[in-house]
């Protein structure tokens, strides 16, 4: 063995070590634990351009799924820009994500300001005709898709009741307009925050995903809640993150998507750029004060399994 090692050209070994240290190799590694009983999903926002960058991101998602088989994708709105014709659905959703759909991945959409309300009837967005809905893909984990374009009293009342009666350890909300964002073009929606944040805090929401600003930003926890802006799944606004006290991590130089895994009390995440490099990663510990049991024995009519 030693004679074989000695026989290897020293330069070749040095080259191997050098390549392994390069960012392009080091930062394309999956860091999520991929545990057997965990929940795996992806997140993307502001995707529906039908342009090259959307397709590039979609290809990356399919590639990463070979090593991290996520089950579904959350869509943060602006799912289809420029209209809702059958051609728009085909070019801006069905074609780029066909490999994922063929593999059985489901998409759960929320509506953005560029989205026709009739998208809620589209079979592959799994909204079941509702502007806002909730689903529980696994016991103890519940997602709430909101229509942040039109937060009327009916929706607020629904959300309050659903959060109150949920009891799930993980409550994760997603919608288009960010409550917290360092975006120069849009930024934080303070009016929406004023009505939603109290509910999130009162009922133990752990994580919130939003789009609308066309970049990635992980916000420092606000009142114990983790916020992500993930609005560059197809759109991008380079250099749009202002310097604020909100940012834990920001990335506005290229498109991206997120992959996440919930295993017990931990949520692991990785944010991956259009070119496959890791932009951000980490783990979120769920606060222990959340309720233990999901109080619903029978799914309500909005539950999607």
């Amino acid at each position: 063995m030693r004679k074989q090692l000695d026989a290897m050209p020293r330069r070749f070994v040095v080259l191997l070590l050098f390549l392994a240290s390069l960012p392009c190799f080091a930062q394309k590694q999956l860091s999520l634990p991929n545990k057997p009983d965990s929940l795996r999903f992806a997140v993307m926002g502001d995707t529906g351009t039908g342009g090259k960058t959307q397709y590039d991101v979609a290809r990356q998602m399919a590639q990463w799924r070979t090593k991290f088989p996520f089950e579904f994708v959350l869509m943060l709105g602006d799912n289809l820009y420029g209209g809702g014709s059958p051609r728009d659905y085909e070019q801006k959703f069905e074609t780029p994500y066909k490999p994922l759909m063929d593999a059985g991945v489901k998409f759960y959409a929320s509506l953005g300001n560029h989205d026709d309300a009739n998208q809620r009837f589209y079979k592959n967005f799994n909204m079941n005709g509702e502007r806002y809905y909730t689903f529980r893909p696994k016991p103890g984990i519940r997602f709430f898709a909101l229509d942040s374009n039109y937060m009327d009293r009916a929706q607020l009342a629904w959300l309050q009741e659903e959060l109150r009666s949920s009891g799930s350890e993980w409550k994760i909300c997603y919608f288009h307009y960010p409550l917290y964002s360092s975006g120069d073009r849009h930024g934080s929606d303070e009016q929406l925050r004023a009505v939603l944040e109290p509910l999130f805090v009162e009922f133990g929401v752990s994580v919130v995903f939003s789009g609308h600003d066309h970049f990635y930003e992980r916000i420092k926890p606000q009142k114990g809640i983790y916020y992500f802006v993930s609005g560059a799944g197809g759109q991008l606004r380079r250099g749009n993150i202002r310097t604020t006290d909100l940012t834990a991590k920001g990335f506005d130089q290229d498109n991206h998507f997120m992959i996440l895994e919930i295993a017990g009390d931990e949520m692991y995440f990785q944010t991956i750029s259009r070119t496959g490099t890791i932009v951000d990663s980490g783990v979120i510990q769920r606060p222990k004060e959340n309720l233990k049991e999901d109080s619903k024995d029978v799914p309500n009519k909005a539950d999607l399994k």
Binding site: Y81, G82, G83, G84, S85, P86, D88, Y89, E90, N113, H114, D116, A117, N118, Q119, F121, Y122, K123, N128, G129, S148, N149, Y150, M151, D152, R153, A154, L156, Y177, H186, D189, E190, Q191, L192, A194, V195
Partner: protein, 189 residues
């Protein structure tokens, strides 16, 4: 006191104190009428939609497009004589005051910023919007955000309708037919 003097004193008091010379019509009645008219519209929407093939909750894009087109044409036919003010009617002043109360001044800054989000006059998507009753909301145009406190203040709408802003104008938008049902001009400060 001579009549002329009495009149001068009276008018002075009016202008100095801001007391109106007349009392405006009751907001309660006007809003009640508005709510009756939007409900009437909603019933018309449901009636014409009921005559179309049902749209499944898991529809294809072709089914969605066909349904929307059928709904839009049927509503336009059913209210072909509709004109501006038919729904807002005498409640327009109420809406102006309610929106002004929410949007004006320093306190209304974030609300004013909110209605600019997604406002089609601020987005680089397509040309200028032409407001007309029964006109289609352009598919390439985005929808304005609506400040939640304002939505809580305004009269609730049936599910078929949304309030939206186009520039400073308030519209009633049928979100499934994607048409402008009525509008008030220059209502936002």
């Amino acid at each position: 006191m001579k009549t002329r003097t009495r009149l001068c004193v009276f008018l002075s008091l009016v202008f100095l104190t801001g007391t109106p010379l007349y009392a405006p019509a009751s907001d309660v009645d006007n809003v009640k009428e508005f709510r009756a008219r939007v409900e009437e519209y909603a019933m018309l929407h449901r009636s014409v939609e009921g005559k179309l093939p049902a749209l499944p909750q898991k529809a294809t894009p072709d089914q969605i497009a066909a349904h929307q087109q059928g709904l839009t044409e049927a509503i336009r036919t059913a209210r072909s004589k509709a004109k501006r003010g038919d729904v807002f009617s005498k409640a327009q002043d109420y809406f102006r005051r309610a929106i002004a109360a929410e949007l004006k001044g320093k306190a209304g800054l974030t609300a004013r910023q909110t209605i600019q989000e997604g406002n089609p006059t601020n987005e680089a998507s397509g040309g200028p919007m032409i407001l007309s009753v029964n006109a289609g909301y352009p598919p390439e145009a985005s929808l304005s955000a609506m400040p939640p406190p304002l939505l809580l203040r305004l009269p609730p709408l049936p599910d078929e309708l949304n309030y939206r802003f186009v520039g400073r104008h308030l519209i009633l938008h049928d979100k499934d037919a994607d048409i402008i049902v009525d509008f008030i001009l220059n209502v936002a400060p």
